[in-house]
């Protein structure tokens, strides 16, 4: 499946006098892993906030799947269209078990949507994908930092999202955990899914990204493959060179 999964069309976000995103346009295709990088304050997380409906842009539109305008939808409605996001700080429900998280992620409704066996299968499959099979009945509050990161990825993955956004998935992870996460992200790549990764770790970005968008002061500074990004003088000046 080809085509544009997400079209960000002239988005501007303003916080008081500070313009976090400045007339930004961006297209993300199905089947690609897109990394969004840039210095602190470049607007990376704000961009994900706009897509997931947490922050309302002052101007511009976000189109999902080529046609559906999701700019003004509430967060829950955006999530139900198939756009899921892992937050920067691992966001899990401390009082619930690992299994309950995946179940909640799989259903997205107060009424049960999958019958018992189908749900169990889905949960087992996701737990295996993120490598938490042996932790299924533990409480999320007891997990290590890396496990929480994977749990949250599993939770957003459980609904089989069409657009998957990962905000700093390897922040605070060990080298070994980072490698595992890179393998996981590559395994999640599908022709009918777009994956957006915000990350500072350039080696990780190199491992996973098909294309890289460099943001600077709320605008696109450069877009292309990682090799070209590293070679571009303007990117080196504002970000990589420091």
């Amino acid at each position: 499946m080809k085509g544009v999964a997400l079209l960000i069309d002239g988005i501007t976000v303003q916080f008081g006098a500070f313009r976090a995103i400045n007339d930004l346009s961006l297209a993300i295709d199905y089947g690609e892993v897109r990394a969004v990088i840039g210095p602190n304050g470049a607007g990376k997380t704000t961009l994900l906030d706009v897509i997931s409906g947490i922050t309302r842009p002052k101007a511009g539109r976000v189109l999902f799947d080529g046609a559906q305008d999701i700019t003004r939808l509430p967060e829950s409605a955006i999530a139900r269209t198939g756009i899921r996001r892992k937050f920067q700080k691992p966001s899990v429900f401390e009082a619930l078990t690992v299994r309950q998280h995946i179940e909640i992620g799989a259903e997205a409704s107060f009424r049960r949507q999958l019958d018992g066996p189908a749900l169990t299968d889905r949960v087992d499959e996701i737990l295996e994908t993120v490598g938490l099979e042996s932790q299924a009945s533990r409480l999320a509050g007891e997990l290590a930092h890396g496990q929480k990161q994977w749990l949250e990825i599993g939770m957003v993955l459980a609904s089989e999202p069409r657009v998957l956004m990962l905000d700093e998935p390897v922040a605070g992870l060990t080298d070994e955990e980072t490698e595992r996460t890179a393998a996981l992200v590559r395994a999640l790549k599908r022709p009918d899914r777009a994956i957006i990764v915000v990350e500072h770790d350039m080696d990780f970005v190199e491992l996973i990204a098909d294309r890289v968008t460099v943001l600077h002061e709320g605008r696109t500074l450069f877009e292309g493959s990682m090799d070209k990004v590293r070679a571009d003088q303007s990117v080196v000046d504002v970000y990589l060179g420091r």
Partner: protein, 365 residues
């Protein structure tokens, strides 16, 4: 969360309540019979425990602190008082004091039908749902939460108190309503009536506890905890948390209302003091001391603090505020989860969450 049938502290408390409820009528007339004062006090305590449960449901399990739950308690209480006065008037011709004070010849028009209990009950439910859903919808829709919501609810209960202090509203004014002569056709103040009301309150408490336990143990309960722990996370998974919060908030209000309806016939009076911010704050203290997020904790907290208050209010009333504040300081500093911490430290530790998670992990594998 494990099933309620295997939740040992919960089952012990339910059984204890049922034993007390059964013992009181059985012991009547024997030398072991509890005094009228004690029977009545136990019934009032049960109503307070139910009130604590209602707050624990919304605060402990959903993370929304209400400092105005006295409002819903008062709606139940006032409607019950109106029913009892009208019923007493129809049965015995007793004219309520407040009508005489005001020099009114007859009940105001909106008192029509209150002699009929089912009608009064419906009115209580409708008013409670109306008030709670408006407060809840307006606040939760604008994403008002935390300390702001607590302040709003506190202000609302205070406004309601000022309103009820007015004598011309037809709800008894500052003297409130008292002088109930009959309850469901039976004269008040008899041993049998005191026991019956007390037993009804205890059984009501047990039923509400069971209902709350089943709710928090369900899938819906898991979503409540998820909302408490990280609402934005849950919302961006596709769940409209506004609906969930509104449902639990209204349910909590209904439980508080029921507690008020059970409380008033036992204490024999209602006045605007139940709407004072003090009572609403105290409910939060009961729950905090008992352990919020634990139904058993909330009930035990309410029972302990109120027993202490009952006893001290005759022994040393001037000490009460100091003891209550001391307990709050202790909870904040030493036992952040209230008595539940204390219990875990001494009794429950070998069955603590880690141990249980390990055990159930082995069982499922």
């Amino acid at each position: 969360m494990k099933s309620w049938t295997t939740d040992r502290p919960f089952m012990v408390l339910i059984l204890a309540l049922l034993v007390i409820a059964a013992a009181m009528p059985l012991l009547a007339g024997t030398s072991l019979a509890p005094s009228r004062y004690l029977t009545n006090a136990v019934g009032q305590l049960a109503a307070f425990a139910m009130l604590a449960l209602s707050l624990d449901l919304i605060w402990g399990y959903l993370g929304i602190l209400s400092l105005g739950h006295g409002l819903f308690f008062a709606i139940g209480g006032y409607v019950m008082a109106m029913h009892l006065l009208k019923h007493s008037f129809v049965a015995t011709g007793t004219v309520p004091d407040f009508l005489q004070f005001m020099g009114w010849k007859d009940f105001p028009a909106y008192w029509a039908g209150f002699e009929n209990f089912p009608y009064a009950l419906v009115i209580a439910v409708v008013v409670t749902l109306l008030v709670s859903s408006i407060i809840g919808y307006v606040s939760f829709r604008s994403r008002v939460g935390g300390v702001y919501f607590a302040i709003i609810t506190q202000a609302l209960v205070y406004v309601a108190m000022l309103l009820m202090f007015r004598n011309d509203t037809g709800f008894g004014g500052n003297n409130g309503m008292t002088g109930f002569a009959v309850v469901f056709g039976w004269p008040v103040g008899t041993e049998g009536m005191i026991t019956a009301l007390s037993v009804a309150s205890i059984i009501g408490l047990a039923l509400v506890m069971l209902a709350c336990r089943m709710l928090v143990g369900s899938r819906f309960g898991a979503l409540m905890l998820a909302t408490r722990d990280d609402e934005t996370r849950l919302r961006t998974l596709g769940y409209e948390t506004l609906r969930l919060k509104l449902i639990v908030w209204c349910l909590s209000a209904l439980i508080a209302m029921l507690a008020g309806m059970l409380y008033v016939p036992q204490v024999g009076i209602i006045n605007p003091r139940v709407l004072s911010p003090e009572l609403s704050l105290e409910i939060a203290v009961w729950v905090a001391i008992g352990g919020r997020g634990h139904l058993v904790g909330a009930v035990i907290g309410a029972l302990l603090i109120n027993s202490l208050k009952f006893w001290l209010s005759s022994a040393a009333p001037e000490l009460w505020p100091f003891i209550l504040s001391g307990l709050i300081v202790l909870v904040v500093l030493v036992f952040p989860n209230g008595l539940v911490d204390l219990a875990k430290f001494r009794l429950v530790r070998p069955f603590g969450p880690k141990h249980l998670a390990l055990k159930s992990g082995e069982a499922t594998r």
